[in-house]
């Protein structure tokens, strides 16, 4: 293996490790406890795929990294380059730490849901 190939391999390994820790860092059990504590189901539905209002999203089975991003976006608000202004979700997201968001996100992703990727 020449120097460049070695460097690339190392870089790939480091990147892989970083992205794994970012997403695999979520704890499903703790996420379930947090979802219960913050009563997410009161709006998004007990099974997280039948929200109480059709303008609220189905969350069950959604990609965890997207769900964590959405929570961060609600916490930041829409003054940011990537943020959301939503009176309900802003309040819900404020007390959550990065770890809380990751945990809630992997819990929701673990649930069976109707979401699909189609063209």
């Amino acid at each position: 293996m020449n120097g460049d190939a070695m460097k690339n391999l190392l870089l790939a390994l480091v990147c892989g490790a970083v992205s794994m820790s970012a997403f695999a860092g979520g704890d499903i059990t703790r996420g379930a406890e947090l979802a219960k504590k913050y009563n997410c189901a009161s709006c998004h539905g007990a099974d997280y795929k039948t929200p109480i209002d059709p303008t609220y999203p189905k969350l069950a089975g959604q990609h965890a990294d997207y769900l964590a991003h959405a929570l961060h976006a609600y916490k930041r608000g829409n003054k940011s380059i990537s943020g959301r202004n939503n009176p309900i979700m802003a309040g819900m997201a404020q007390p959550l730490s990065d770890q809380d968001m990751a945990d809630i996100a992997v819990y929701l992703q673990s649930l069976p849901g109707p979401l699909v990727v189609r063209k």
């Binding site: 992205s19 999203p57 990609h63 990294d65 202004n85 109707p114 699909v116 063209k119």
Partner: protein
């Protein structure tokens, strides 16, 4: 008093026309295929990830509720949601486009062929 009445009448008329405007728009999934070119470049590719400013898989929108997809697109269009890709994408969509696209993705299920 007359002025106040006039304001009230105007306000009532304005809100009534808003409601009528929203009610007139019905999403038609059959009208969507030539409106979703911008969507499928990201949302139609399994595990496709955004690159900036955060890296994450774009959300699955097939099977999502139509009213939520509409609300999300309207929020990007009006600025309640800010996003480097979604803001410019949603800004060029009419309310009818948004309703059609939302109806199209909402009807998808695991049985929908991936053409």
């Amino acid at each position: 008093m007359k002025k106040l009445l006039a304001v009230l009448v105007l306000a009532a008329g304005a809100s009534a026309s808003c409601i009528a405007g929203a009610a007139d728009i019905v999403g038609n999934p059959k009208a969507a295929p030539n409106k979703i070119e911008q969507c499928i470049g990201c949302h139609g590719i399994p595990e496709y990830k955004t690159a900036f400013p955060e890296v994450y898989q774009v959300p699955m929108i097939g099977g999502q509720s139509a009213k939520y997809i509409e609300a999300a697109l309207q929020a990007y269009k009006k600025g309640d949601r800010q996003h480097p890709q979604m803001t410019p994408t949603a800004r060029v969509l009419s309310d009818q486009d948004i309703a059609d696209i939302a109806a199209y993705y909402a009807q998808q299920t695991a049985a929908t062929p991936n053409k």
